[in-house]
């Protein structure tokens, strides 16, 4: 939890007729935090961001920005600035005029205004492009102009609405690095909306995963990836092998479950854990399964055969059929030892670490 909340969202709901875009969302975002709202399209993440920006008024609930009740405050009176998904660069103004747009209202003297515009352009590495026309910019440059235009206002919170989704992969990865270092440099709160789990994992201090207008989990990237609370969160943040298991014993801090083929596994007991009639779901990430070559041995082994293989350059994704399991297992193997040359149908042995399993809660907390 942040020590001083910059944004606090209390029981916010937004209904469009009978459709709930936001359903009783509560959240605190700390000062100086890089926070991501992650979820599939239609999960309410953009509605939440627009409510913070002041473009959308929640049906119920309260939004505070830096302690000020702001639910009904118009966008122009909030200490927030936004980078729009399509960047919304004013086509009738050049780069310098775009960046200076918000400064005009502050009635700075000409030299001060020029200095702030130049500083903002330096910050996003567009030095000297201020006379460039809006339609002469590349996608990456437009994005930088949008960033500079927002940052020049020195907002308390910068809101980013899928800012990288329009860029190609290479540029996107480069901009991720720049966004992260920019946030460290200016030290203000960044709130990023994205549907790309890798972007959220790479950039954020904390991530809120949203489904159907509700927040499913808020945690650090590492925690949310390694200890997802529900099956849906686990599934959305990359691949996961799900196994049905039976609860055998329960203690205050741990539980033991019995699974087909993997045997008895002891797991950390998640907060608020409540099994439904003794049946639970456990999961293990594909990269936590490992192929065993030749006479290599591991304490926990399983035999199976290769059912499918997909080559991804540095890694190969394998689908392994195991007798006694309903679903085949998926695993990711680096290509150092020739996983990419394994013939289909080959018998293999794989190793797993019982510690890598996570116990997943049922979907009771979220609604479709």
């Amino acid at each position: 939890m942040p020590d001083r909340p910059m944004i606090s969202i209390e029981n916010v709901s937004r209904y469009y007729g009978s459709y709930r875009a936001l359903d009783d969302v509560s959240l605190e975002i700390g000062a100086g935090e890089f926070f991501s709202l992650l979820g599939p399209s239609g999960c309410g993440k953009t509605t939440l961001l627009r409510s913070i920006a002041g473009f959308d008024v929640p049906t119920a609930g309260e939004i505070r920005i830096d302690g000020t009740p702001s639910t009904l405050l118009p966008a122009n009176r909030r200490p927030t600035n936004m980078v729009f998904q399509n960047y919304a660069i004013f086509p009738h103004l050049d780069v310098g005029e775009n960046v200076a747009y918000g400064l005009k209202r502050l009635k700075l003297d000409a030299a001060e205004e020029r200095r702030r515009v130049a500083d903002a352009l330096d910050q996003v590495r567009l030095t000297g492009l201020d006379r460039r026309k809006a339609n002469e910019l590349s996608g990456g440059q437009r994005q930088r102009v949008a960033l500079a235009r927002a940052l020049v206002m020195r907002p308390k919170v910068l809101l980013l609405d899928e800012p990288l989704s329009a860029l190609d992969k290479k540029l996107r990865e480069q901009m991720q690095v720049e966004l992260r270092s920019l946030q460290k440099a200016v030290g203000i709160t960044f709130i990023l909306v994205t549907h790309d789990q890798y972007e959220a994992l790479a950039l954020s201090d904390r991530i809120a995963v949203m489904f159907g207008g509700r927040i499913a989990q808020v945690a650090t990237p590492k925690e949310i990836y390694q200890r997802p609370r529900t099956r849906r969160v686990a599934d959305f943040l990359g691949g996961m092998n799900f196994l049905q298991a039976k609860l055998t014993s329960e203690r205050s801090d741990s539980v033991s479950v019995e699974t087909a083929r993997f045997g008895t596994i002891r797991l950390e007991r998640p907060k608020g854990f409540a099994p439904t009639n003794g049946h639970v779901t456990v999961g293990i990430r594909p990269e936590r399964l490992r192929l065993l070559w030749d006479d290599e041995r591991a304490p926990h082994e399983l035999v199976g055969r290769v059912e499918n293989r997909a080559y991804f350059g540095e890694v190969t994704h394998l689908t392994i059929g195991v007798d006694g399991l309903e679903q085949p297992l998926s695993m990711i193997e680096t290509n150092d030892y020739g996983a990419d040359d394994l013939p289909l149908g080959a018998d293999i042995r794989l190793a797993y670490d019982p510690e890598a399993f996570v116990l997943l809660a049922e979907e009771g907390g979220s609604r479709q």
Partner: protein, 305 residues
């Protein structure tokens, strides 16, 4: 584009190039518009050339003296009657277009921004007055604006005035009122189209950067809808300068415009060259004023920053 790869045999460059052009997008487009283009060109060039030619000739009773003279232009530009008519025509058309654009902008803005799902219905309603004949619409304004007309009797029965207002009909005001109504739909549509093209996130960006609704409108919506405003202005201004029917029907003595004088020269006056010179002068003046208006509008918008 695919024809490039097929036709690139190096031996026969020229025929291949021609064949390529014949099959190109451009050639097909030209072929497609050529009937209309030729028709339009013929009907534009021939009459305009004729009028320009006539304006340099002289009427000699029933004969036309085809020797070159500038006498017609001297008369058109120096005779006080024509000068007054030019000024009045330009003034009426400028006032009409300014008022029309002024009234149409809010309507177009409302339909574009708050029309919701019923935008097309609104646009359809806007065009309804155009369903009746232009002549009928002008005539009905006579009924509304007349001495014992709808407006006067209405205001009198409401107790707002004791005497009928006489300044409503048969003067320049009546011409302006009637023209504004006739041309409103033609101004609303281009403004609506240009407002429709504005990305709504630009207005949100302006609000986000600290502008209130009014400032965001002045700094973003208005400049970006300027192409629509300019075309609406020109669409209304250019035809109204030479309008003949409206001044004839509701203009009275004080509402006479240049078209009436031109008609008189081609008709009763039987001085086609002078009529032609007046027409050409009107065309040139309209073009100049239109250009000046466009420049002025651009300049004003550029000042709002």
């Amino acid at each position: 584009m695919s024809s490039v790869a097929i036709d690139s045999s190096p031996g026969a460059v020229k025929p291949a190039a021609r064949g390529r052009w014949m099959r190109s997008e451009e050639a097909r487009g030209l072929a497609m518009i050529s009937p209309t283009l030729l028709y339009a060109l013929a009907l534009l060039l021939v009459p305009v050339t004729l009028v320009v030619a006539y304006s340099f000739w002289t009427q000699n009773y029933l004969e036309i003296d085809r020797s070159f003279t500038l006498e017609n232009y001297r008369q058109a530009l120096t005779e006080p009657i024509y000068r007054d008519l030019f000024i009045r025509s330009l003034w009426i058309s400028l006032a009409t277009s300014a008022i029309t654009v002024g009234f149409s902008y809010p309507v177009a803005w409302f339909i574009s921004f708050h029309g919701g799902a019923h935008r097309n219905l609104w646009l359809f309603l806007v065009t309804i007055p155009c369903w009746t004949s232009y002549l009928l619409r002008v005539m009905s304004w006579k009924v509304i604006l007349g001495y014992g007309g709808v407006l006067n009797t209405g205001l009198m029965s409401a107790g707002l005035i004791d005497q009928p207002i006489t300044s409503l009909l048969y003067n320049a005001n009546a011409v302006v009122i009637t023209l504004v109504h006739s041309w409103a739909a033609f101004a609303i549509l281009p403004i609506y189209v240009s407002l429709q093209k504005i990305d709504r996130s630009l207005i949100e960006a302006a609000r986000d950067l600290g502008d209130g609704p009014m400032r965001a409108f002045l700094r973003v919506t208005l400049p970006l809808s300027m192409p629509g405003v300019v075309s609406a202005f020109l669409i209304v201004m250019i035809p109204t300068v030479g309008d003949y029917v409206t001044p004839k029907l509701v203009g009275g003595k004080d509402g006479v415009m240049i078209a009436t004088a031109i008609q008189a020269q081609f008709g009763k006056g039987a001085n086609w060259p002078l009529g032609a010179a007046l027409s050409v002068t009107t065309m040139v003046l309209v073009s100049l004023v239109a250009a000046a208006v466009v420049l002025a509008l651009r300049l004003v918008v550029r000042r709002i920053r």
